[in-house]
Symmetry: C2
Subunit: 324 residues, 2 copies
């Protein structure tokens, strides 16, 4: 069955690339990397019941597992080229398997095609539903954006808006009737169909001193930049970019918590020297995602968040707020 399944996926995801010498269907794929480029390679897995709820639309799964990986390439400043897929599916009637495969492949392809990403290899096995994708992208030698290059005084920025995906998940889990609410639909779309900031990542090459994608939540991910750069960061709560849809659906405390600690945004959080902020913001605005300055890197360790009165917020059982 594996052979047929992977053929079906191949047909539905076909993407011609001259550098693919041999695609799906042999013991391995063969590709020709471009001369003088380095390869950025990332892998991410999504498991049913952990990363997406039972009953999630297969097309959303296909889109998201690729988006999560492309987001890693975006955070490195790499341009995508090839992907591998490891798909584990429960044993079920053939018609159901085909329906899943077709939906999955369609969602995957919708995101892959505009980026000319080719699916070059895959493995399908039976077992509890889980999807693992590895992606390969190109980056000029020494120009990959890393986590560890931030300097004290650098400005911290983030693309797009924060907290939408976590708010979408909360709405889904709440059992609220959301189908006719345009704001809720937007937030859930942000959860299921995140946009990897690939163009932004390319624009940051040579300018961002550190970069990461926000997958686990801003505090956690900026914390990785702090740790890798041996610095701390100070954020202004009032500066965190929150969408009108988020602010219209949740109160200030809840939306701030989604923006600080909610995961699955797949925006880029990065640091640039103060002298480059305006230029970078201009470029990212032209790319459509924008970039908001939210704080700065400081000597020390860890991420601290200040409210409008200059009070440090603290984490407690309700999340992050003024009352420790």
């Amino acid at each position: 069955m594996e052979f047929r399944l992977i053929d079906r996926i191949r047909e539905r995801t076909a993407q011609g690339r001259e550098d693919v010498r041999l695609g799906i269907g042999d013991d391995a794929a063969v590709v020709a990397p471009p001369a003088g480029q380095e390869l950025a390679i990332a892998v991410d897995t999504m498991v049913e019941g952990v990363h997406f709820p039972h009953g999630t639309d297969p097309a959303d799964i296909g889109w998201k597992v690729l988006a999560v990986n492309l987001s890693d390439l975006a955070a490195m400043g790499a341009s995508p080229a090839w992907a591998l897929l490891a798909l584990t599916l429960p044993r079920q009637p053939v018609a159901q398997v085909q329906q899943f495969i077709d939906g999955f492949a369609d969602g995957f392809t919708q995101l892959a095609q505009p980026h000319r990403l080719a699916l070059i290899g895959g493995d399908t096995t039976s077992g509890p539903l889980s999807v693992s994708v590895a992606v390969h992208g190109f980056v000029p030698p020494g120009q990959a954006l890393v986590r560890g290059g931030a300097r004290a005084g650098d400005v911290v920025l983030v693309t797009g808006t924060l907290g939408d995906a976590a708010a979408g998940l909360r709405l889904l889990q709440s059992g609220a009737r959301v189908t006719e609410d345009a704001r809720a639909a937007y937030l859930i779309e942000r959860l299921h169909r995140p946009t990897p900031r690939l163009q932004a990542g390319l624009a940051l090459r040579g300018r961002a001193t550190a970069c990461i994608d926000v997958s686990d939540g801003l505090l956690a991910d900026l914390g990785h930049i702090c740790e890798a750069s041996a610095l701390g960061a100070e954020l202004e709560a009032s500066l965190l970019p929150r969408s009108p849809m988020l602010l219209g659906s949740f109160d200030d405390v809840a939306s701030l918590n989604f923006a600080l600690a909610g995961g699955d945004d797949y925006e880029l959080c990065f640091t640039v020297p103060p002298s480059l902020v305006a230029e970078v913001q201009g470029d990212l605005a032209r790319l459509g995602c924008g970039a908001t300055r939210i704080g700065r890197m400081v000597e020390g360790a860890g991420v601290r968040v200040r409210d409008e009165q200059g009070q440090w917020l603290e984490s407690n059982h309700r999340g992050w707020d003024h009352f420790a």
Copy 2:
């Protein structure tokens, strides 16, 4: 937890390679492919309860999931360089997780180190136990061994011996007391710790017209060569290489069936023009695995097997034998 786990894996699998610019610990790994080489890339997943029984030694899982992938590179004639790991582990007490990780990493490293394979990236998630590995190897342009190049009249050969792993699995599943039986121990070792035929794959470059690794069983895998080459194959049952340990543990019918249809051998099955057979056999004998001629490629389709009396064997409910 993910961060710590992957750090633990990184420490235990450390392998210096100059072409790894950035290993585990950022959004993606960054590597510098060698100029003028193509990359062969393969991915394989192993799921608990499907590809290995519950309770399998983590070190055996670590070895085997890498072996299965390296075997794909061997079948392409590629030399291994880098690997990615996607590991899904059930939620359990930290001590158990660490014990699994340590064992897994040890088994993985035992096989990775002699091949100078570097683990450059990984993702750990919670969920039902499953392991997916992707490997990257180098091959000179146009020299990858493929499935589709066999010609009528080519000789079919196979490295090592066939059927051992399937026999080992049968022994494990039978509940037989096997711990003190050296033959059984050998067969089970072949199941848990297959040897990827990487050196043999390199030796076959430019000489084998088609090559595949025997993962699903000889008939199925040689069938892929037939299909891709638009040919058939005729095998001689008496020529199939079977180990003394296999022949000492199972009768002729059972051992023949393991050799024909048992999977998990990870030997190479390949085709060469008659004029090159002796030379290739000599080289592979020097590499330690040897290569046995088992049949030839013919016009037609599918794989047929002949017994010593020249009768075609047929498949029935007992497997392959003389009585259709």
